[in-house]
Protein backbone atom coordinates (compact mmCIF):
# COMPACT_ATOMS: atom_id res chain seq x y z
CA UNK A 1 0.00 0.00 0.00
CA UNK A 2 1.56 3.16 -1.12
CA UNK A 3 1.05 6.00 1.13
CA UNK A 4 1.06 8.89 -1.16
CA UNK A 5 -0.71 12.12 -0.78
CA UNK A 6 -3.79 10.73 -2.31
CA UNK A 7 -3.99 7.98 0.22
CA UNK A 8 -3.44 10.23 3.16
CA UNK A 9 -6.13 12.61 2.00
CA UNK A 10 -8.35 9.64 1.44
CA UNK A 11 -7.85 8.31 4.92
CA UNK A 12 -8.54 11.67 6.48
CA UNK A 13 -11.68 12.12 4.48
CA UNK A 14 -12.78 8.63 5.47
CA UNK A 15 -12.18 9.41 9.10
CA UNK A 16 -14.07 12.63 8.66
CA UNK A 17 -16.96 10.52 7.45
CA UNK A 18 -16.79 7.73 9.96
CA UNK A 19 -16.00 9.37 13.25
CA UNK A 20 -18.87 11.87 13.43
CA UNK A 21 -21.15 8.89 12.96
CA UNK A 22 -20.16 7.66 16.35
CA UNK A 23 -20.97 11.02 17.78
CA UNK A 24 -24.34 10.88 16.11
CA UNK A 25 -24.98 7.53 17.70
CA UNK A 26 -23.69 8.05 21.16
CA UNK A 27 -24.25 11.71 21.90
CA UNK A 28 -26.90 12.77 24.30
CA UNK A 29 -27.02 16.27 23.02
CA UNK A 30 -29.07 16.56 19.90
CA UNK A 31 -27.25 19.60 18.65
CA UNK A 32 -24.02 17.72 18.84
CA UNK A 33 -25.61 14.95 16.84
CA UNK A 34 -26.86 17.38 14.27
CA UNK A 35 -23.53 19.00 13.77
CA UNK A 36 -21.81 15.65 13.60
CA UNK A 37 -24.20 14.68 10.92
CA UNK A 38 -23.24 17.82 9.12
CA UNK A 39 -19.65 16.70 9.14
CA UNK A 40 -20.53 13.24 7.98
CA UNK A 41 -22.27 14.66 5.00
CA UNK A 42 -19.28 16.74 4.31
CA UNK A 43 -17.06 13.72 4.41
CA UNK A 44 -19.33 11.80 2.15
CA UNK A 45 -19.20 14.60 -0.32
CA UNK A 46 -15.45 14.39 -0.22
CA UNK A 47 -15.64 10.70 -0.95
CA UNK A 48 -17.83 11.41 -3.90
CA UNK A 49 -15.13 13.67 -5.27
CA UNK A 50 -12.66 10.86 -4.85
CA UNK A 51 -14.96 8.77 -6.96
CA UNK A 52 -14.86 11.30 -9.77
CA UNK A 53 -18.52 12.04 -9.19
CA UNK A 54 -18.20 15.77 -8.90
CA UNK A 55 -21.82 16.52 -9.69
CA UNK A 56 -22.91 14.11 -7.01
CA UNK A 57 -20.56 15.66 -4.54
CA UNK A 58 -21.84 19.13 -5.18
CA UNK A 59 -25.40 17.93 -5.06
CA UNK A 60 -24.64 16.23 -1.74
CA UNK A 61 -23.36 19.43 -0.26
CA UNK A 62 -26.17 21.53 -1.56
CA UNK A 63 -29.03 19.20 -0.80
CA UNK A 64 -27.92 17.38 2.29
CA UNK A 65 -25.93 20.01 4.09
CA UNK A 66 -27.74 22.99 2.81
CA UNK A 67 -31.17 21.50 2.86
CA UNK A 68 -31.58 18.53 5.15
CA UNK A 69 -29.22 19.57 7.90
CA UNK A 70 -30.63 23.06 8.02
CA UNK A 71 -34.11 21.63 8.14
CA UNK A 72 -33.02 19.35 10.93
CA UNK A 73 -31.62 22.22 12.90
CA UNK A 74 -34.76 24.20 12.38
CA UNK A 75 -36.83 21.32 13.62
CA UNK A 76 -34.64 20.85 16.65
CA UNK A 77 -34.77 24.43 17.60
CA UNK A 78 -38.51 24.64 17.03
CA UNK A 79 -39.27 21.74 19.19
CA UNK A 80 -36.91 21.78 22.04
CA UNK A 81 -36.07 24.06 24.86
CA UNK A 82 -32.50 25.30 24.61
CA UNK A 83 -32.06 25.01 28.34
CA UNK A 84 -32.37 21.29 28.40
CA UNK A 85 -30.53 20.74 25.19
CA UNK A 86 -27.99 18.61 26.93
CA UNK A 87 -30.46 15.87 27.64
CA UNK A 88 -32.40 15.90 24.45
CA UNK A 89 -31.11 12.90 22.61
CA UNK A 90 -31.33 10.05 25.00
CA UNK A 91 -31.00 6.45 24.05
CA UNK A 92 -32.64 3.33 25.20
CA UNK A 93 -29.93 1.13 26.61
CA UNK A 94 -31.78 -2.10 26.17
CA UNK A 95 -32.48 -1.58 22.58
CA UNK A 96 -28.95 -0.48 21.97
CA UNK A 97 -27.61 -3.71 23.31
CA UNK A 98 -29.93 -5.79 21.30
CA UNK A 99 -29.23 -3.83 18.19
CA UNK A 100 -25.60 -4.28 19.02
CA UNK A 101 -25.99 -7.97 18.71
CA UNK A 102 -27.66 -7.62 15.40
CA UNK A 103 -24.95 -5.27 14.26
CA UNK A 104 -22.30 -7.70 15.27
CA UNK A 105 -24.00 -10.43 13.33
CA UNK A 106 -24.18 -8.24 10.30
CA UNK A 107 -20.61 -7.27 10.78
CA UNK A 108 -19.61 -10.86 10.82
CA UNK A 109 -21.50 -11.66 7.70
CA UNK A 110 -20.17 -8.58 6.01
CA UNK A 111 -16.65 -9.56 6.83
CA UNK A 112 -17.26 -13.01 5.49
CA UNK A 113 -18.76 -11.66 2.31
CA UNK A 114 -16.02 -9.21 1.83
CA UNK A 115 -13.22 -11.64 2.22
CA UNK A 116 -14.79 -14.35 0.25
CA UNK A 117 -15.85 -12.62 -2.87
CA UNK A 118 -14.14 -11.12 -5.77
CA UNK A 119 -15.78 -8.12 -7.25
CA UNK A 120 -16.25 -8.55 -10.90
CA UNK A 121 -14.79 -5.87 -13.00
CA UNK A 122 -16.90 -5.65 -16.01
CA UNK A 123 -16.63 -2.06 -16.75
CA UNK A 124 -15.60 -1.82 -20.31
CA UNK A 125 -17.14 1.50 -20.89
CA UNK A 126 -15.29 4.71 -20.84
CA UNK A 127 -15.75 6.58 -17.67
CA UNK A 128 -16.19 10.24 -18.60
CA UNK A 129 -14.09 12.85 -16.90
CA UNK A 130 -16.94 15.18 -16.32
CA UNK A 131 -19.99 13.37 -15.29
CA UNK A 132 -22.53 16.12 -15.47
CA UNK A 133 -23.05 15.86 -19.16
CA UNK A 134 -23.38 12.14 -19.02
CA UNK A 135 -25.80 12.29 -16.15
CA UNK A 136 -27.88 14.83 -18.03
CA UNK A 137 -28.01 12.61 -21.03
CA UNK A 138 -28.99 9.60 -19.03
CA UNK A 139 -31.61 11.56 -17.14
CA UNK A 140 -33.39 12.58 -20.25
CA UNK A 141 -33.09 9.35 -22.13
CA UNK A 142 -32.88 6.23 -20.17
CA UNK A 143 -34.08 7.55 -16.84
CA UNK A 144 -36.74 9.84 -18.11
CA UNK A 145 -39.54 8.00 -16.41
CA UNK A 146 -38.01 8.04 -12.96
CA UNK A 147 -37.22 11.68 -13.50
CA UNK A 148 -40.83 12.53 -14.17
CA UNK A 149 -42.05 10.40 -11.32
CA UNK A 150 -39.67 12.04 -8.96
CA UNK A 151 -40.86 15.43 -10.05
CA UNK A 152 -44.40 14.47 -9.27
CA UNK A 153 -43.22 13.10 -5.98
CA UNK A 154 -41.56 16.37 -5.14
CA UNK A 155 -44.74 18.17 -5.96
CA UNK A 156 -46.64 15.85 -3.69
CA UNK A 157 -44.12 16.33 -0.94
CA UNK A 158 -44.38 20.06 -1.31
CA UNK A 159 -48.10 20.11 -1.04
CA UNK A 160 -48.18 17.41 1.56
CA UNK A 161 -45.81 19.00 3.96
CA UNK A 162 -47.73 22.20 3.75
CA UNK A 163 -50.95 20.36 4.49
CA UNK A 164 -49.50 18.41 7.34
CA UNK A 165 -47.81 21.28 9.03
CA UNK A 166 -50.47 23.92 8.81
CA UNK A 167 -52.87 24.85 11.52
CA UNK A 168 -56.08 22.86 11.58
CA UNK A 169 -59.00 24.38 9.71
CA UNK A 170 -61.51 25.97 12.00
Amino acid sequence: MTLGLREIVFISVALLTALPCLIVVFSRNILYSAFALFFTFLGTSGLYFFLDAEFLGITQVVVYIGGVSVLLLFAILLTKNIDEIRKTNMMSGVRMIMAGFGALALLGSFGYALTGSVWAMNGKGEYPSTTIKGLGDLLLSKYLMPFEVVSILLLAVLVGSLVIARRSVK
Binding site: T17, A18, L37, D52, L56, A75, I76
Partner: protein
Protein backbone atom coordinates in the same frame (compact mmCIF):
# COMPACT_ATOMS: atom_id res chain seq x y z
CA UNK B 1 -5.47 -4.29 -1.00
CA UNK B 2 -5.63 -1.05 -2.68
CA UNK B 3 -6.54 1.62 -0.30
CA UNK B 4 -8.82 3.41 -2.63
CA UNK B 5 -10.28 0.19 -3.87
CA UNK B 6 -13.79 -0.86 -3.60
CA UNK B 7 -13.26 -2.54 -0.28
CA UNK B 8 -12.60 0.64 1.66
CA UNK B 9 -15.65 2.32 0.27
CA UNK B 10 -17.67 -0.67 1.29
CA UNK B 11 -16.29 -0.59 4.75
CA UNK B 12 -17.02 3.06 5.09
CA UNK B 13 -20.53 2.71 3.85
CA UNK B 14 -21.03 -0.26 6.19
CA UNK B 15 -19.92 1.75 9.12
CA UNK B 16 -22.30 4.48 8.13
CA UNK B 17 -25.03 1.92 7.81
CA UNK B 18 -24.46 0.37 11.21
CA UNK B 19 -24.30 3.71 12.84
CA UNK B 20 -27.50 4.73 11.24
CA UNK B 21 -29.15 1.46 12.30
CA UNK B 22 -28.09 1.82 15.87
CA UNK B 23 -29.31 5.35 15.93
CA UNK B 24 -32.70 4.44 14.54
CA UNK B 25 -33.19 1.65 17.02
CA UNK B 26 -32.03 3.27 20.15
CA UNK B 27 -32.72 6.97 20.09
CA UNK B 28 -35.69 8.37 21.94
CA UNK B 29 -35.85 11.68 20.19
CA UNK B 30 -37.66 11.54 16.91
CA UNK B 31 -35.18 13.84 15.27
CA UNK B 32 -32.49 11.49 16.42
CA UNK B 33 -34.24 8.66 14.72
CA UNK B 34 -34.50 10.74 11.61
CA UNK B 35 -30.81 11.41 11.68
CA UNK B 36 -30.23 7.70 11.65
CA UNK B 37 -32.42 7.31 8.63
CA UNK B 38 -30.39 9.93 6.81
CA UNK B 39 -27.22 8.08 7.63
CA UNK B 40 -28.56 4.87 6.23
CA UNK B 41 -29.67 6.53 3.02
CA UNK B 42 -26.34 8.18 2.75
CA UNK B 43 -24.53 4.91 3.05
CA UNK B 44 -26.64 3.41 0.30
CA UNK B 45 -25.94 6.29 -2.03
CA UNK B 46 -22.25 6.05 -1.32
CA UNK B 47 -22.30 2.39 -2.07
CA UNK B 48 -23.99 2.88 -5.40
CA UNK B 49 -21.59 5.58 -6.40
CA UNK B 50 -18.60 3.46 -5.40
CA UNK B 51 -19.73 0.55 -7.40
CA UNK B 52 -20.58 2.67 -10.38
CA UNK B 53 -17.11 4.14 -10.52
CA UNK B 54 -15.00 1.25 -9.50
CA UNK B 55 -16.72 -1.83 -10.72
CA UNK B 56 -19.30 -1.17 -13.32
CA UNK B 57 -17.64 1.88 -14.74
CA UNK B 58 -20.88 3.42 -15.87
CA UNK B 59 -22.90 6.34 -14.78
CA UNK B 60 -26.02 4.51 -13.85
CA UNK B 61 -24.95 3.96 -10.29
CA UNK B 62 -24.57 7.67 -9.87
CA UNK B 63 -27.95 8.10 -11.33
CA UNK B 64 -29.35 6.01 -8.51
CA UNK B 65 -27.35 7.96 -5.99
CA UNK B 66 -28.83 11.12 -7.36
CA UNK B 67 -32.28 9.85 -7.00
CA UNK B 68 -31.55 8.66 -3.48
CA UNK B 69 -30.39 12.11 -2.53
CA UNK B 70 -33.50 13.69 -4.03
CA UNK B 71 -35.75 11.27 -2.24
CA UNK B 72 -33.94 11.72 1.01
CA UNK B 73 -34.55 15.41 0.79
CA UNK B 74 -38.19 14.97 0.02
CA UNK B 75 -38.55 12.56 2.86
CA UNK B 76 -36.85 14.97 5.19
CA UNK B 77 -39.37 17.61 4.32
CA UNK B 78 -42.28 15.34 5.01
CA UNK B 79 -40.82 13.91 8.16
CA UNK B 80 -40.18 17.25 9.69
CA UNK B 81 -43.64 18.48 8.72
CA UNK B 82 -45.04 15.46 10.52
CA UNK B 83 -42.82 16.13 13.46
CA UNK B 84 -44.12 19.65 13.76
CA UNK B 85 -47.67 18.41 13.59
CA UNK B 86 -47.01 15.87 16.29
CA UNK B 87 -45.27 18.43 18.44
CA UNK B 88 -48.21 20.72 18.11
CA UNK B 89 -50.58 17.98 19.20
CA UNK B 90 -48.67 16.17 21.93
CA UNK B 91 -46.01 18.77 22.88
CA UNK B 92 -43.63 15.89 23.26
CA UNK B 93 -41.18 14.32 20.86
CA UNK B 94 -40.09 11.39 22.92
CA UNK B 95 -40.73 8.37 20.74
CA UNK B 96 -41.38 6.15 23.76
CA UNK B 97 -44.30 8.33 24.79
CA UNK B 98 -45.98 8.44 21.43
CA UNK B 99 -47.80 5.14 21.81
CA UNK B 100 -51.32 5.73 20.68
CA UNK B 101 -51.02 2.86 18.22
CA UNK B 102 -50.34 0.57 21.08
CA UNK B 103 -52.48 -2.49 21.70
Amino acid sequence: MELTGITSYLIISFILFLAGLLTVVSKRNIIGIFMGIELILNSAALNFAAFSRLTARSLEGQMVSLFVIVLAAAEAAIALALLLAIYKRYRDINADNLTTLKW
